[in-house]
């Protein structure tokens, strides 16, 4: 029993370190994309949408990030639910683990569960199917 809790702790320690790496790389990537790459793409839209007239699994992601950065959580949820889902799950994990390590307010760090990632896959596929049904059947665009 003690070995299992030690393994679980070491798993969360490694995930916490990997999480900081992802947070740093993701922040740099989002900043570079929004401020350097995106202004150069005048009117650039998705290749899949332009060729086939359907949304790809990533369509709406940039708009969701922009909406989230301006504080519009509902709009971000509509554009691409994977973005706010990632912020809640990943942000909650990192925040709670940081507070737990700093011993602030008796907060216990969130534990990792496999359904966190399987949920992200389900949301990505479900969003792809749902948005294309809305587009092709009901002609509702993003």
């Amino acid at each position: 029993m003690q070995t299992t809790t030690k393994k679980q702790r070491s798993l969360e320690d490694q995930l916490y370190i990997a999480g900081w790496f992802f947070l740093l790389a993701g922040s740099i990537g989002i900043f570079v994309y929004l401020h350097i790459i995106l202004p150069r793409l005048n009117g650039y839209t998705c290749v899949v949408y332009r060729l086939f007239g359907i949304y790809c699994p990533g369509c709406g992601g940039t708009r969701a990030v922009s909406a989230l950065l301006t504080g519009h959580f509902g709009q971000a949820l509509w554009y691409h639910p994977l973005v706010p889902y990632t912020v809640v799950i990943f942000g909650g994990f990192m925040l709670s683990q940081t507070l737990a390590r700093l011993h602030i307010g008796r907060i216990r760090g969130w534990c990792f569960h496999e359904w966190h990632l399987y949920g992200a896959v389900v949301i990505m596929i479900g969003n792809f199917i749902f948005k294309n049904i809305l587009l092709l059947v009901f002609h509702i665009t993003l």
């Binding site: 798993l11 990997a18 992802f22 150069r40 009117g43 650039y44 290749v47 990533g58 990792f112």
Partner: protein, 144 residues
């Protein structure tokens, strides 16, 4: 006396077959010591059955988690910007292969599948963008 009542209460809560409980009560009237031994014999297999579930959760590998994260990113980014998705997909495959060498898990398999799908999508998008860039606006030609 209190100890016997405590044991009898536990016998009621254990989900053994209903036919065994009256037999234990009749035997308890004759031999109280055997009743305690029968109770422990019923509980021990349940503890042994619960133990593997705890060890399965600890087999989760960090590389398997990273591979699935990179696989999801490769699918999402591969459709919009092909080469970035392909790069994430290659990273996801490498992590999944190393994770499978350490311990096989469902996360690593899912990461491998997502990474392969992301690479395929990224390559298709790169080819389509290269082929149709002449017919499209000049921004596509400049970008790729």
């Amino acid at each position: 006396m209190d100890g016997q009542n405590f044991e009898n209460e536990n016998n009621v809560t254990v989900d053994t077959t209903a036919t065994e409980v009256p037999v234990q009560e009749t035997s308890a009237a004759e031999q109280p010591v055997n009743n305690y031994q029968d109770y422990t014999a019923n509980v021990q297999p349940q503890m042994a059955a619960a133990a593997p579930q705890q060890t399965e959760n600890t087999d989760t590998n960090v590389l398997a988690i990273v591979s699935l994260v990179l696989g999801i990113l490769s699918i999402v980014l591969g459709c919009c910007t092909g080469w970035i998705g392909a790069l994430f997909g290659i990273g996801g495959i490498i992590c999944a292969v190393f994770a499978n060498k350490q311990s096989e898990s469902g996360l690593a398999k899912a990461g491998l599948i997502c990474s392969i799908v992301g690479i395929v999508l990224g390559i298709i998008v790169m080819i389509l963008a290269a082929v149709f860039s002449v017919a499209f606006m000049s921004d596509l030609a400049n970008y790729y």
